[in-house]
């Protein structure tokens, strides 16, 4: 009976994903959809008020410049709002101005779609900052990611031109036709289940046993909706989606999981539709699903094995509910963690710090390979395309032929750019993590020692480099070094993912399209899928195996052998 509910939900969900995939491709191709009646006037109004000519076409440098400047301005606004929030209205808790290093970290974090949080929203930020700063960037960073993907895809579909579209048009369409309508629907659903959406002041009262307690309030649902849909993940509250006011019951939980997956999954299909090769989209989808299922198997095995140390205290089967909410349980919570690290979402409904070490190893792996199992909205496909180009290069070496992908010959330039995009974030995070280990005060920020402490630190930098935002929340990262180094990591990783994508799009667009021949390596078959999965797993393992051995793997061995720290 319970299984039936899940299967039914899964089928409904997949059906919607296919529809959404088609719809989004229509939106970005500028075709009419059922929403055009409302969307078109709004879209034109935005162009008019912002002084934009939607017919203008940009080459990749212009596209990239507009994208970067727009993002930097957004970042600046979030920063400024925070450092003067004490003087501004909508401040029910009389929060003080945020210190500059935390404000900078948070501004970069939300601009880059990471949503790393070194603070707890309910006790640090004003409603004004949450709305005008964070909610806005939740929309814009998601729309930016999707725009970058669409621009890259134009490289495959266009020929002998250097133009890859108009950033402002792609940004506006993503926001108006996709993110806003979905967020409105989702917010209303969340509110119907008990998620807060109010401007009443914090409620002080005495409990049934006469203890004083305060209920935090605020415009929560409107932010939670976009945080899940846009791969953002930054919670209104510090404990994120474990907070009953963000995620009150089983139904909101499964819908939030679906929302985490919805656009990343649908965009894989949109990619297929947009390049006119839905089979390619499906090949990517299958590769991603296989990696996800592998991860699910490992994670569930680890959680069912539980923590043997707990058995001697009389806990049934050593099931570890530490840091897990009772309404969700360990299996659903650990699956959520998998989804949130596979996509670049980063919201949590359990405390990852307290989950089983092998579970967190899988999470770290997901983030380490650059979140290509669905990935963040837009950037997930970009990441997978980098791997696909790498696969084609390898295949080309094996059969002694110039690699091609989707009818375009791949040259050294595309390879350089892909490799830069794939390697810079891991290198950067490993260096910053290594430096952190050499600073005693930074090591002192750990909540746990031994191998688990290393996991905490690694997780933080992996999360920053993957623009994920989930955390081992025990690590206190509100220090100058962490705020700064994580800020830089998030910033560079974001743009080193997006800008090479635009450059590849630009350089592919200039090339001629070559027809498929019998010697073309098929990129939709089992061979390609197997190679793609292998390359992702091998790349991730080669980069991180040594440090994962010292962190989560050792942590696991300690645990099963009863060694405590």
């Amino acid at each position: 009976m319970i299984l039936l509910e899940w299967i039914l939900f899964l089928f409904l969900f997949l059906g919607l994903v296919f529809l959404m995939g088609k719809y989004m491709s229509s939106v970005y191709l500028g075709e009419d959809t059922f929403f055009t009646v409302i969307g078109k006037p709004l879209e034109n109004l935005i162009y008019k008020t912002s002084g934009i000519n939607p017919a203008e076409e940009m080459n990749w440098k212009q596209y990239g410049l507009n994208l970067v400047i727009f993002n930097l301005l957004g970042c600046l606004v979030v920063f400024l709002l925070q450092v003067i929030q004490g003087y501004l209205p909508l401040n029910p808790i009389h929060a003080a101005n945020v210190h500059w290093d935390l404000a900078l970290n948070t501004a970069i974090s939300f601009m880059t779609n990471t949503n790393w949080q070194s603070y707890s929203g309910e006790s640090t930020l004003t409603w004004l900052v949450q709305m005008l700063g964070l909610t806005v960037q939740n929309f814009l960073s998601a729309a930016t990611g999707m725009a970058a993907m669409v621009a890259m895809l134009r490289g495959f579909t266009r020929k002998e031109t250097d133009k890859i579209g108009n950033f402002w048009v792609d940004l506006t369409r993503g926001t108006v036709y996709i993110l806003i309508p979905l967020s409105i629907l989702f917010s209303v659903f969340l509110i119907s289940q008990g998620v807060l959406q109010t401007f009443h002041p914090y409620q002080h009262f005495y409990t049934m046993e006469n203890q004083s307690q305060v209920l935090p309030t605020g415009p929560v649902a409107s932010q939670v909706a976009i945080k899940q849909l846009g791969s953002n993940g930054g919670g209104f509250f510090g404990v994120n989606s474990a907070h009953p006011f963000e995620n009150p019951n089983g139904l909101t939980n499964i819908f939030e999981m679906a929302a985490i997956l919805f656009l990343p999954l649908a965009l894989v299909l949109s990619f297929g539709y947009m390049v006119g090769n839905i089979k390619q989209g499906l090949a990517f989808l299958i590769s991603m699903l296989v990696i996800l299922l592998l991860g699910t198997g490992i994670v569930w095995w680890a959680e069912m094995l539980g923590n043997p140390l707990l058995i001697k205290y009389g806990i049934a089967h050593g099931v570890s509910m530490e840091g897990v909410e009772s309404r969700f349980g360990v299996l659903i919570s650990s699956f959520w963690g998998l989804l949130t690290t596979a996509t670049s979402n980063g919201s949590v409904n359990s405390m990852h710090d307290s989950l089983m070490p092998i579970t967190t190893l899988v999470y770290m792996f997901n983030m380490g390979v650059g979140e290509v199992v669905f990935g963040g909205v837009g950037v997930g496909i970009i990441g997978m395309l980098y791997y696909a180009l790498l696969v084609m290069f390898l295949a080309g070496l094996m059969i002694g032929r110039t690699p091609e992908f989707l009818g375009k010959k791949l040259g050294p330039r595309e390879m350089y750019l892909s490799v830069i995009a794939l390697l810079v974030p891991p290198i950067l995070m490993l260096i910053f993590a290594a430096i952190a280990l050499m600073i005693p005060s930074t090591v002192g920020c750990m909540n746990n020692s031994s191998a688990h402490g290393l996991s905490e630190l690694l997780y933080a930098f992996l999360s920053g480099a993957g623009n994920n935002g989930s955390a081992f929340a025990g690590l206190n990262t509100n220090t100058l070094y962490y705020n700064f180094s994580l800020g830089i990591t998030m910033f560079i990783s974001r743009f080193v993912t997006i800008l090479p994508a635009l450059a590849i799009g630009g350089s592919l667009a200039e090339k001629k399209s070559i027809p498929e021949s019998s010697a073309t390596f098929p990129t939709t078959g089992i061979l390609f899928i197997a190679m793609l999965i292998a390359v992702v797993i091998i790349m991730g393992s080669l980069t991180f195996f040594p440090v994962f051995t010292m962190g989560p793997l050792l942590d696991h061995l300690f645990m099963i052998h009863g060694k405590v720290y």
């Binding site: 700063g133 998620v195 049934m208 046993e209 510090g238 049934a316």
Partner: protein
Amino acid sequence: MTTITRSLRMLIVMTIMTGVIYPLVITGIAMICFPVKSTGSLVYSQGRVIGSELIGQKFTFPGHFHGRPSFCDYSTLPSQGSNWGPGNSVYLSTLKQRAVNYREENNLSSVQVLPPDAITFSASGLDPHISLENALLQVSRVATARRIPENKVKQILFVEAARDKAIFQKPVVNVMKLNVALDSVGGIY
């Protein structure tokens, strides 16, 4: 220069749309359609607020069912979990103590197997629920303290648990609602 002015104008337009109009429209819908749910699902007793049915609160009286241990002791600003790793010695020693306390409080034998939620900290520190197994182990204590028959307490427990049964959710019972129901029946505690 045009890039900067265009970016700025776009940012202002988008901020008004997604940062002002969007949350306000949603709040408007919330006020009209879900006035109770959107403001925290508050529970009243004799005209004053005694809590939210979604947020756990601290229960220590023997005549009340007790919620899960909370790392932040059910304080909400901010609330948090312990973030202790599985082999953390502080975690394990406090866990041991909580297991002893739980058994003592509920008059259980030292070999009684405990449901995991009974002695572990929740993620939010505000978990409003406990598992049914956990609640059943507390029935005898509650009944004794209130001087009412165990069957009566069990009956209330099952009624409340049935009410909290929900799709895609573990079988749990809301501690506060359970205690409100108990209090309405009476008994000394």
